[in-house]
Amino acid sequence: MPDASGKLVRVEVGDCVQVGKHFARDKLASGAARVPGGDETRARKVIAGDIQDCGVLVRGNKREAARIVGKYKLQVASGRVSLPFARTLVWRPGLALNPRQVVMGFARLEEQDGYDAWEGAAMLRAGEKMALHIGTADERRATRDTIGTLKVPLYEAGAVWVRRTAATERFAAAWAGWLKEGISEEHALLRALYVNPLLLCTLPALWLSSWWVKESR
């Protein structure tokens, strides 16, 4: 095949090669090639060993978390919302996760080529409900007073990946504080996010199902 300079080169499946734009378009359109990089590549790096700084903060049963993430030797802690690791998955065990899904979230926080990286990654909650649809009247009123409107989408509070920075530590402290007051999960997370702006990668609802793999026991 021709490389970017037009010179014929021999390549094998899996090779990365610089090619011209028209050749790239043809091969991408036919499915014969793909753009290197992206979530899959980053995830493979994470799984392969770039995970020394990653860990799971379990808001519940620590042993269950250790069983799920043990394959990748991720660190596990339990307790209130906090960021004990450089990259932390804050996980509420009621949300089912498998190891692949856990590391895909960490991949979203990885720096690439010297550019800024996302500080947090969280999914929207399935069902397209907004803050005005859930919680008590008092919770909705307080959220509206904080945010200015209740016409905002809800986040899935069961799994939030966070890279520890000054901004995210403020966010995590606020989130823990709202939860401690007994505020509903959705309202607590919304308020904590709103008053602590961060580089948040919002993922679509059901993003985790993109990475569902049947694990053999």
Partner: protein, 212 residues
């Protein structure tokens, strides 16, 4: 003694439309009329004609036929406001739009609404190859609708727009795929608002009506 300069505060916020061609100009005029029923913010229209009640900004087309999209990815340079609300010409305002500006004042760089098509339909309106390239890099991203978008002028927003222009220039077609790729390389603080703000009860969106 401290005083609040009310006039100065109003100039921080403003609304920008992009309208090239008779259909877009007509839609923008009607959108501005609807906006005026709820807000008195200054309005700028980038395009090829003046519209009553707004200030006209001329912007030369350097794309060979897609002036509207090129203007959109240059909004950081074209908007005279520190805090900007961009509205597609084919929108109609039916309620309070201040929550978007409030988010900017809180420290968010952008306030925007997720698109209705997601999952298998994400970026379905984008060209086949561009879509494939975008999904290869991002794998199931959250599509954002750029028809109603608040942003403030910060260093990171300038970087985002610069990257957005670079990404859009690769295909010179739709802008939403380019924005997602740009965000991946130059992340900013994005606050999401619900569907009522774009295609709902606060802002109705007459998709496609601004095209000739």
């Amino acid at each position: 003694m401290a005083v609040e300069l009310v006039g100065e505060r109003k100039q921080v916020r403003g609304v920008v439309y992009v309208a090239y061609g008779a259909a877009a100009q007509r839609e923008a005029r009607l959108s501005i009329e609807s906006l005026r029923r709820h807000h008195g913010w200054p309005v700028v229209v980038v395009g090829d004609g003046s519209i009553a009640g707004s200030r006209h900004v001329k912007f030369t087309d350097g794309t060979g036929g897609l002036p509207g999209r090129w203007a959109k990815v240059n909004l950081d340079k074209l908007s005279p406001f520190e805090h900007t609300l961009f509205l597609d010409a084919d929108t109609r305002v039916h309620g309070d739009l201040s929550p978007g500006f409030r988010a900017l004042e809180r420290g968010w760089d952008v306030a925007i609404v997720p698109s209705e098509p997601q999952g298998d339909q994400v970026l379905a309106h984008v060209g086949e190859v561009e879509r494939a390239v975008t999904l290869a890099v991002l794998s199931d991203p959250l599509q954002l609708n750029t028809g109603v978008m608040w942003f403030r002028k910060t260093a990171c927003i300038m970087r985002l727009f610069e990257e957005w222009r670079r990404q859009w220039w690769s295909w010179r077609d739709k802008d939403q795929g380019a924005l997602l790729r740009a965000l991946e390389r130059a992340p900013v603080r994005v606050w999401l608002l619900g569907r009522p703000f774009n295609g709902g009860g606060v802002v109705a969106h007459r998709f496609g009506m601004a095209r000739e």
